[in-house]
């Protein structure tokens, strides 16, 4: 019998398509097709730019990213190219600078980001940008995060020799409900035009006039009013487009940024909360290429004013003869325990919220177990998603509620409502929801002997409750949530809760203890570790391991429309991604 043929050896992996590029004297390797500006960024050499953005097409019109470039000259036929001291072909430097944002690297290319030519060119472009720019720094909101300011300090001339009159254009133009335009400050980089046309599919902005009188305007009859208009304010490198909500509120250098997650819907767009002291002034999107790219919708972004509202609950209260009286935390918690312990499980209901963090829901589950009740649910909120980032599920942590409480959000509500209307419930804990807005009837709620509300705002539901416990809002929480795509993400505390309000998770823990459970968890990290031990989806995770960008923990079929389209454009090479 002939010997069986040996199986062919597996083919070696093909070499990655890398090219050699010399940046400021150092030879590095980059994948073919990398833009020069990205190559410099990876080599830790920042190239100043205005019009370039990794998620938008590159028009190359600001000319700020001009760098000195060189290619090895083609040798005469039959001759070897001249080599330098690294053994690489010697580079012939071109006297004319090229833009780094739209050109890709090639084999043997050399880039100089700090040479005399590059510095002179940058000084020149900077000077041109400043000659018609108005003297608005003291009144402009962009001061402190203005790229014109930064680059003129780093790369500018330092002195002006412009003696003429500056070009005058319309200022303080109303182009939409949330965005204000100042044409004199505009440097005509066209980022806003490209964003509204390419990403938001609403090409309402465009240039009018020509030459130095070019003016940005909304097209006749149009307004910049779609739900993603405030992203143009983020990407505008100068103070031409500013947010009406943030206008003249505070200077940016006083604000501290904290990583957090938007609570507007289940997408869980990563954002930064900017606050000074205990007041939030604005929220901006954070880059996360698995969730929201660099963008965020206006509705979610502007929904923070309630955190500083005068209607915040600041003290625990207990109803005494029909009137709420402020009491101490110890007494309030004890009052809840007195009302609930000993009552049969079927006569207790806990209505939690899918706006609570995983850690808080963990304690809700424990509380339900201790009180022996199965009547635990969260209020679902289904709305309409748009074709960009906004998800149809308007609760930020539905997946967390499902995972931890073990049931589909809203599945037990009908049963609870039934029990309530028949007067069968003696204790109802409303945690984070205004029951009157969630489909419960006032007359049913009035039947409940012990209605406990844990909330942040004084609302009708709290008005009816016997015991009111002030919790903390999302910006004051440290915790984790799972978004609709199954990604576990972290939020951090940006401001402190007002008055005597406490962390919701701590209140729930104290309730658990008062109702007979055990203590032992004193920090969010410990809570999460306990969660990770009990929930298989969190296996191996810790609060620190979630990281700033989150980790995927669940498999879902959810696709993010805006990100899908960005992937397509990246595949076509239009954007860097």
């Amino acid at each position: 019998m002939p010997a069986p043929e040996a199986a062919p050896a597996p083919a070696a992996p093909p070499p990655a398509d890398l090219v050699n590029v010399q940046i400021d004297g150092v030879w590095l390797k980059f994948p073919k097709g990398t833009r020069m500006i990205e190559a410099c960024k990876q080599a830790k050499k920042e190239v100043p730019h205005y019009c370039y953005h990794p998620k938008l097409s590159s028009p190359g019109n600001c000319r700020m990213c001009l760098v000195e470039m060189g290619m090895p000259p083609r040798p005469a036929p039959g001759q070897e190219p001249e080599k330098d001291e690294h053994g690489m072909p010697k580079i012939g430097w071109m006297p004319r600078p090229v833009i780094a944002c739209a050109n890709t690297v090639a084999e043997g290319m050399g880039i100089r980001t700090e040479s005399t030519l590059t510095q002179e060119v940058r000084k020149g472009v900077m000077e041109f940008l400043l000659i018609n720019h108005p003297l608005d720094c003291p009144i402009c909101d962009q001061a402190g995060e203005c790229r014109l300011q930064e680059f003129s300090v780093e790369h500018g001339k330092g002195e002006s020799r412009f003696r003429e009159e500056k070009v005058k254009k319309p200022k303080n133009v109303d182009i939409g409900p949330r965005v204000r335009l100042d044409d004199e400050r505009c440097i005509m980089c066209s980022r806003c035009i490209r964003f509204t046309a390419e990403i938001a599919d609403a090409p309402v902005l465009g240039f009018t006039e020509r030459g130095s009188y070019t003016t940005l305007a909304v097209h006749p009859g149009k307004r910049l009013e779609h739900n993603y208009s405030l992203n143009t304010v983020d990407i505008c490198p100068v103070g031409a487009l500013t947010s009406n909500d943030f206008r003249f509120q505070q200077r940016v250098w006083f604000l501290t940024e904290t990583n957090s997650i938007c609570q507007g819907c289940g997408r869980g767009c990563n954002m930064e909360t900017h606050a000074r002291g205990d007041t939030i002034y604005r929220q901006t999107p954070r880059e996360n290429n698995d969730v929201n790219s660099n963008w965020m919708c206006d509705r979610g972004r502007l929904d923070f004013h309630f955190v500083n509202s005068e209607f915040r609950l600041t003290d625990p209260m207990v109803k005494n003869q029909g009137k709420h009286e402020v009491t101490s935390w110890k007494k309030a918690i004890q009052a809840v325990a007195n009302a609930a312990v000993g009552v049969k499980g079927e006569e207790i209901a806990i209505i939690a919220s899918a706006r609570m963090t995983n850690e808080e829901l963990f304690f809700v589950k424990q509380l339900a177990k201790i009180l022996g009740t199965e009547n635990v649910d969260v209020i679902p909120r289904l709305g309409e998603g748009d074709n960009y980032l906004s998800a149809a599920d308007k609760n930020p942590n539905s997946n967390g509620a499902k995972l931890i409480l073990g049931s589909e959000p809203g599945s037990k509500l009908a049963g609870i409502t039934e029990l309530m209307s028949r007067g069968r419930l003696r204790v109802v804990l409303a945690l984070g929801e205004n029951l009157l807005k969630c489909g419960f009837e006032r007359r049913d709620l009035e039947k409940i002997p012990s209605l406990v509300t844990l909330h942040i705002l004084a609302n009708a539901s709290a008005e009816l409750s016997q015991i009111v416990l002030p919790g903390n809002a999302y910006a004051e929480k440290r915790g984790s949530m799972i978004n609709v795509t199954g990604r576990l993400q972290r939020m951090d505390r940006a401001v402190n809760a007002p008055g005597n309000a406490r962390d919701t998770w701590e209140i729930l823990r104290d309730l658990v203890v008062a109702c007979g459970g055990s203590n032992g968890l004193h920090s969010i990290e410990d809570v999460f570790s306990r969660l990770a031990a009990e929930v298989p989806a969190f296996q191996g995770l810790s609060f620190a391991k979630i990281g700033d960008l989150g980790v995927p923990v669940l498999e879902t079929d959810e696709k993010i429309p805006l990100l899908e389209r960005e992937k397509e454009r990246k595949a076509k090479g239009i954007i860097v991604g």
Partner: protein, 181 residues
Amino acid sequence: MAIITVQRPKLAWHEKAFISTLFKGLKITLSHALRTFLQIAGKKPKVTMEYPEQKWDDQLPDYYRGAPALVTDEHERERCVSCQLCEFICPPKAITITPGEIPSDDPWAKVEKRPKEFEIDMIRCIYCGMCEEVCPEQAIFLRKDYAITGLSRKEMVHDKKRLYEIGGQRVGLVNKWNELK
């Protein structure tokens, strides 16, 4: 390293007994006393200014740093645009500003920004002059008054009205907001 032996100085008997140093000290004391007597007698100029009977307000040098105040210009416009640079640079954080918008029907609507509230806590103020130096609008200046007193902490906080009162009008500055068209 070589060891150098230092000789003790040889002292005379009056130096050992501190008699000469005694006399040297006494000489200085007596000359000071004589000078003071002569000052009292009016023969020599006094060095001590007897405040508050004597004040040097009219001899304050140009660079003297008194209390900060906000100024208006020739057109009675409040120069401050609440850029909050002084609030940032103030070392003891004595300045608190709430910026606000100028309504569009105001004659100075072009300037767009004006402080809603502007407070300087004079108890915190250290009269360093950083606010005057950093102001891009030439709106805040340190005046020559130094005797800032009050009977309560609340009184010692100068609000916007008071600051413009103290500051008054100042001409001779750059008026970059004056309209040309």
